[in-house]
């Protein structure tokens, strides 16, 4: 981790929950992006984490915007910066609700228009900021305050949707692998056009696991194959190191879901479906990486 700058853009005064992975991710994202960057933040946990006016815990311009608007605001901002000869990085930092649900149209539009920006979705698999309601990103069987018996539908595959727009760079990441995330942000920002990074961000209060287990939970997501780390640069897919090893012999998914209170009442049928999806995703990503698909 020697090449990660010591400069901090997030101070220790955030109002994040204990064990928050999204603020950990943002810390590394901003180190990679550097000071010539603007963060565009729709309604999400980060709206609150940055602090209360007139204070802010972020030492970088942060433009807070309406829930559905992040990618479109970034579109205008990036266009204006480029029109006036400024290279400033425009980075959206949005939760899963603001991305896969209410913000999907603006995201799709900005990707399709070739907007020069980086969109990062930190996915804690629910509307966590409003107290853990179901989102399109919530996985099958997970209990939320609006799916008390467990979600009966699967997780929306955001990455397939983004892939369909053929962005020059897209990647997945996980808060448990900050160096991997750092490198992906660096690479993304070196490329012109629309870039996208999808981060799995385990949420202790929402997923109901102890705050000290955030990193472990992220690692288990990757080791079970429930989350696969990869990057796709100009259409070429590369599986990232941690997933390469995990995909050869993934741990049983119970190792991951069994440690989270949200899956406490999941039934065997749902577990079987999740297992099938893991196998399917591993096979699909492997085929693509090998150039078979």
């Amino acid at each position: 981790m020697a090449d990660i700058p010591k400069e901090e853009f997030i101070f220790k005064t955030t109002s994040a929950c204990a064990g928050c992975s999204s603020s950990l991710c943002l810390r590394h994202i901003l180190k990679a992006a550097g000071p010539d960057s603007v963060l565009v933040v729709p309604a999400c946990c980060t709206s609150v984490i940055q602090g209360i006016y007139p204070n802010t815990a972020f030492n970088i311009p942060v433009y807070n915007v309406a829930f559905a608007a992040a990618a479109a605001v970034a579109s205008g901002m990036s266009t204006a910066f480029r029109a006036t000869g400024r290279k400033t990085n425009v980075i959206c930092y949005a939760g899963d609700g603001g991305t896969v649900d209410i913000g999907i149209q603006a995201l799709s539009g900005a990707l399709e228009r070739g907007t020069d920006f980086l969109y990062i979705c930190y996915d804690n698999e629910a509307y966590s900021n409003t107290g853990m309601q179901r989102s399109g990103g919530t996985p099958l069987g997970a209990a939320t305050t609006t799916t008390p018996g467990g979600k009966s539908e699967g997780k929306k595959d955001l990455d397939l949707i983004v892939e369909a727009h053929n962005p020059p760079y897209m990647a997945t990441a996980c808060s448990a692998y900050p160096l991997d995330l750092y490198k992906k942000v660096k690479k993304a920002l070196s490329i012109e056009g629309p870039k996208f990074i999808h981060i799995l961000a385990p949420c202790p209060p929402g997923w109901r696991f102890p705050a000290g287990k955030t990193v472990e939970m992220g690692k288990l997501a990757v080791r079970t194959g429930m989350w696969i780390l990869y990057e796709r640069e100009h259409g070429e897919l590369t599986i990232s190191g941690a997933s390469k090893n995990a995909m050869r012999k993934p741990l049983p998914i119970e190792e991951y879901i069994g440690k989270q209170g949200r899956f406490k009442n999941i039934d065997q049928r749902s577990i079987a479906i999740l297992e099938q999806q893991v196998a399917h995703n591993i096979a699909r990503i492997t085929r693509e990486a090998e150039g078979i698909c």
Binding site: Q50, P54, F58, V73, A74, S75, G76, A80, Q105
Partner: protein
């Protein structure tokens, strides 16, 4: 330069002459010609703006917000459903204190689908904090759009401006148009709170009850200052380019005992009705309200007032009539006419005045 143009072309020409850095555009009838014309100006190089063909009106306003926040001039145009679809971002543009200019082709809201003139779209956005001007001719569409940039960007205002023109009745009619070289009439935009990476701040962070109201008051304070800036801008425009505008346009009002009030193209139609009625001996004048926000001072005391509303607030009444009755102690005959493009002639308007029943409401075509 003297030419002929539609209302839409006039708006596009004013945008060309104001030179915004960014135009975000989404088509909707009857505004589409504006964004098409601007696209042509950008493609031909006559206008050096960046053109963002957004995927919705919500995103059109969002993109204008993002662009304006960096300190550059931004423009968009919309109508009807597009306007109400971007409602959330209209509020946002005001709270973020961004001097965006937008043209709105006034059009009715569905269902049923109706593409013709009505003011309920923009009047339902009256509490967003946007300045609103309603124009009555092609020339005025050009002049008001040009002035809108200077007014919005004035340091005492820093609020967005909506230029409203009647769908089809003005967007698609052709009249003479004289364009101007604005020169330094529109100075370079200087946004004091533009994003500055050397001075990182949080915009729109969580603002607690002990602070929030201060920002609301600041918006109102600027809205009050805007009245003076509008007056000063219109006076300067008159001095430079010879065309004079006020917050209202009054016709034969000096000795009038009855004043008929409306906005937009019907406001122009009223003048012919006034001449007809004057020849019959009725002491009548007309007052076309141009600026609805900030709402102007009207000289109505001691007169009978007939208000034609091309809009309606269900369960309450005509929006313009009630704006007047809430500010002035005058007897109003409230006429609801022209909804969804319903034809209203100057003879009809003369009839409204002849048959006026102060204190009552009359739905044209419904009530006998």
């Amino acid at each position: 330069m003297l030419t002929i143009a539609t209302g839409n072309k006039a708006v596009a020409d004013a945008v060309k002459d104001a030179r915004p850095a960014v135009v975000a555009a989404y088509p909707i009838t009857p505004q589409t010609e504006i964004v098409e014309q601007i696209a042509n100006y950008v493609a031909s190089g006559e206008l050096g703006s960046r053109y963002i063909p957004v995927e919705s009106e919500h995103s059109a306003m969002a993109a204008c917000i993002g662009a304006s926040a960096t300190g550059v001039r931004a423009f968009t145009a919309t109508s009807s459903h597009g306007l109400v679809y971007m409602c959330e971002m209209l509020h946002w543009a005001v709270g973020a204190r961004l001097p965006i200019v937008m043209a709105n082709a006034n059009r009715a809201l569905g269902p049923g689908w109706n593409i013709w003139a009505e003011h309920t779209d923009s009047l339902s956005m009256r509490d967003t904090g946007w300045l609103q001007v309603y124009v009555g001719s092609v020339q005025e569409a050009y002049d008001a759009t040009l002035m809108a940039f200077r007014i919005a960007e004035h340091t005492n205002v820093l609020l967005p401006v909506m230029v409203n023109l009647d769908g089809f009745a003005l967007t698609h009619i052709t009249q003479p148009l004289e364009t101007v070289d604005p020169g330094d009439f529109i100075p370079p935009m200087e946004l004091p709170h533009a994003i500055d990476i050397t001075n990182p701040v949080g915009y729109g962070t969580l603002t607690p009850p002990g602070e929030y109201y201060k920002f609301r008051w600041d918006i109102e304070r600027s809205m009050r200052s805007a009245a003076e800036v509008i007056e000063e801008t219109q006076a300067e425009f008159g001095k430079r380019f010879g065309r004079r505008y006020g917050a209202t346009e009054e016709y034969r009002c000096e000795d009038a005992e009855v004043i008929v009030v409306a906005m937009g193209t019907l406001g122009k139609e009223m003048e012919i009705a006034v001449d007809t009625l004057r020849s019959e001996g009725v002491k009548v004048g007309s007052m076309r309200i141009r600026w609805f926000r900030p709402f102007p001072d009207l000289d109505l005391e001691g007169r009978e007032v007939v208000v034609i509303d091309r809009d309606y607030s269900f369960g309450f009444g005509g929006i313009v009539a009630h704006a007047i009755s809430s500010k002035y102690d005058v007897s109003i005959y409230s006429v609801i006419a022209g909804l969804g493009g319903q034809e209203v002639t100057y003879d009809d308007i003369a009839g409204f005045v002849r048959d006026r029943r102060p204190g009552e409401e009359f739905w044209f075509g419904v009530d006998a």
